[in-house]
Amino acid sequence: MTPERIERALREVTREARTEQLPHVDWARIEDELPMTRVHTVPPRPLSVRPWLIAASFALTGALGAYAVTLVHPHAAPVAAARVTTPSSAAARASANGDVNGDALAVGAHVVAGDVPQSVVHAGHARWTLAPHSEGTLLANGDIVTVRLDRGSVTSRVVKSSRTETFAVEAADVRVAAHGTEFTVSLGADGVSVSVTEGSVLVGPREEPGQGQLLISPAAKRYTHAGLPIEDDSGLEALGGRRSPSHVEDGATAADGATGASAAQGRLALEAPASAKKPGARKAANEPEAGDATAASDLDQRPSEPTAAGLEAATTSVMRLTQACFKERTIAGEGVRVTAQTSVTFRTLPEGGVNRVVFEPPLSPAVQACVNAGMSAIQTEGTRNGFQVSRSIDLER
C-alpha cells in the first residue's frame, strides 16, 4: 500500500464522514427540557428565619387554597391544602400544564400533591412528580437538587449531565442519588422502596452522600427506614422491577454481606463483588463435581450483568496489573520518565476470571506478555456470558 493511496483513502473517508447523515435527534424532548422562559438562574435562597416568617404569614393568609406550596416544616404543620399555590415567589406558580417551576422555589419549600400527581420542574435539570397525596420538601436547589420525601411516592426524571451527581431524593435515612435516571422512591410504614426504570441510582445512608449500593435499571429494592436492604423481596414484581444482580447470585448475596457488616452501624455499606466475599463460589462453578445439572443451574442463576462493584473491582485489578507490568518491563535510564496513554479492553469468563486483555494502541510485547501471564490470577464476578470492559489508562514509569 503506497503512501499516495493511504492519503487518498484518508481524503475519501473524511469526505464520507463529512457527508454522513446525522442520527435522529429528539429535538422536541430536548427543547421541552430546556430553560426557555428564563434567562438568569435564580440562586437558591438559604433557609433562614425570615423566609420562615414570610412563609408562615403567607400560609396563614392564603395557603388554604386548593393546592399549596408553603415554607413549613413537614412534621410541625401538615399542609391540608390540596393544590399548589405560589410559595415565596410568584415565579414558582404552576404553569399552564400544572407544573411548578422548581428553580423559583426556595430551599425548604414544601410541596403537597392533591388528588392528582404534582410535578416540579427544574428546567434542563430534573423533573420530580409526587404521586397523589404525597409530600416532599426541597432541601437543596441549584447545581444539586435534593428532595426529601415526607410522605407517599415520588418519581424523578433527571437529565444526564457531565457532573457526577445532580439530583437526590431522601426518604427517612435513605438517600437515593441519581445521574441521568428515571426512578421512583416510595416511603411506607415498613420502609423505603426504590424502583429504577432507566439508568442507575446510588442508594446509601443519608448522612454519607457518595456511599451505598448501586441499583442498575430495571431494578427494584426495599430498604428499612434506617437504610438497610430488606432481603425479603416479595412485592418487587409489583414495583415492576427485577432483583438487583447482587440478589441473583447463589445463596448468600453480596447485599447479605453488606447487611451483616453494616447492621451494627445501622447503615449501608458499599457493595462488594460477590466473588470477593464468597471465595468458594467460583471454585464451585469451575469444578462441577456435584453434577452437571447443579453446575448448569448455577450458571443459569448468574446475573446477566456484573454488579457495579464487581465491574469496578475487575477493572481495578486489570489496571493494577498493567501498571505493574509497565513499570517492570519498560526499559528506561535513570531519571527518565516514560508515559503511555492507551485504552484497555478485557473480557471475563462466565465463571469468573479474565481471558483476554487487549491494548489499543498496543503496548510493547514485553508488557503485553507480562499482562497475559498475570491475568490468570485475577478473580472477577461470574456472569451468565462474561462481560467486556473498556477504558482509557495512563501509564507511567
Partner: protein, 223 residues
C-alpha cells in the same frame, strides 16, 4: 461562522440575510420567552453535528446537546461579543464534549460484543454498511488522538472551519492550530492501515494514472 444566512423567500427568489446574533442575545438577556427557543432552533443542527463528530457517534448525543444549551443559557450573561455567537457556542459545545470524555475515562464502561451490533447492520445494503464501517473506523482513529489534535482535525476537515476560526474557538494561535492539524493528519496517515476497512479502501482505490482500457476511445479535449 456566526453570520448566519437566513433564507427569505421573495417572489420566488431566495435572498440571504446576514444575522450576527446580537439581537437574539439581547432578547434572551431581556428574558423574552421565545428568544432562547429561537437560539436553540438556529444552532441545534450545527451543535449536534459538531458533537456527533467530536464523539464519533456517542449514544449520549442528545444529552450532550442538551447540556451544551443549558450551559449556553447559563452563560449568556457573560457573553461579551468578543467572539461571534456561533463561535462562542461551538466553544461551549467542545468543552462539554471534553468534560464528557474525561468523565467517561474515569469510569469503566461495558462494551457491547461484536454480535450486538451485527444484526442491525446486516440489514443494510453492502455499500452503505461498508461506508458506515469506514466512517466508524475514522472515528476510532480520531478517538485515539489527543484531544487538541482531534478537535482541530474535526473542526477543519469535517466542519470546514478555517484555521483562523478554529484559533478563536480553541483559544490558540493560528500557527499552533496549523501545527496540530499537520500532526493530526500525520497520525491518521500512520495508523490508517491498521483499520481493515480503511486499508481495504486504500487497496481498492484505482491508481491515479489509470491507463485507458484497450479499445476505448481516447478522451478528446474540446477545442
Amino acid at each position: 461562522m456566526d453570520a448566519r444566512r437566513e433564507p427569505a423567500k421573495s417572489d420566488g427568489a431566495t435572498l440571504s440575510v446576514v444575522s450576527d446574533g446580537s439581537d437574539l442575545v439581547a432578547r434572551c438577556r431581556a428574558g423574552e420567552p421565545a428568544a432562547f427557543r429561537q437560539l436553540f432552533r438556529e444552532h441545534r443542527t450545527s451543535v449536534t453535528r459538531l458533537i456527533h463528530r467530536m464523539t464519533g457517534g456517542s449514544p449520549d448525543l442528545e444529552d450532550l446537546v442538551q447540556e451544551t444549551f443549558v450551559q449556553v443559557h447559563r452563560s449568556l450573561g457573560s457573553f461579551r461579543r468578543e467572539a461571534q455567537l456561533g463561535t462562542w457556542i461551538y466553544r461551549i459545545a467542545i468543552n462539554v464534549v471534553l468534560m464528557h470524555r474525561r468523565a467517561l475515562r474515569s469510569r469503566p464502561s461495558l462494551v457491547p460484543g461484536p454480535s450486538d451490533t451485527q444484526l442491525d447492520e446486516d440489514d443494510q445494503p453492502d455499500e452503505q454498511l461498508a461506508r458506515r464501517r469506514r466512517v466508524a473506523a475514522l472515528y476510532r482513529l480520531l478517538d485515539r488522538m489527543s484531544e487538541k489534535k482531534r478537535t482541530v482535525y474535526v473542526l477543519h476537515e469535517l466542519e470546514g472551519l478555517s484555521p483562523a476560526e478554529i484559533a478563536k474557538i480553541v483559544g490558540a494561535p493560528v500557527l499552533t492550530v496549523r501545527t496540530r492539524l499537520f500532526y493530526a493528519r500525520r497520525s491518521l496517515l500512520a495508523e490508517l492501515a491498521q483499520e481493515p476497512s480503511l486499508a481495504a479502501l486504500a487497496d481498492a482505490l484505482p491508481p491515479l494514472s489509470d491507463p485507458a482500457p484497450a479499445g476505448a476511445e481516447p478522451h478528446k479535449e474540446p477545442a
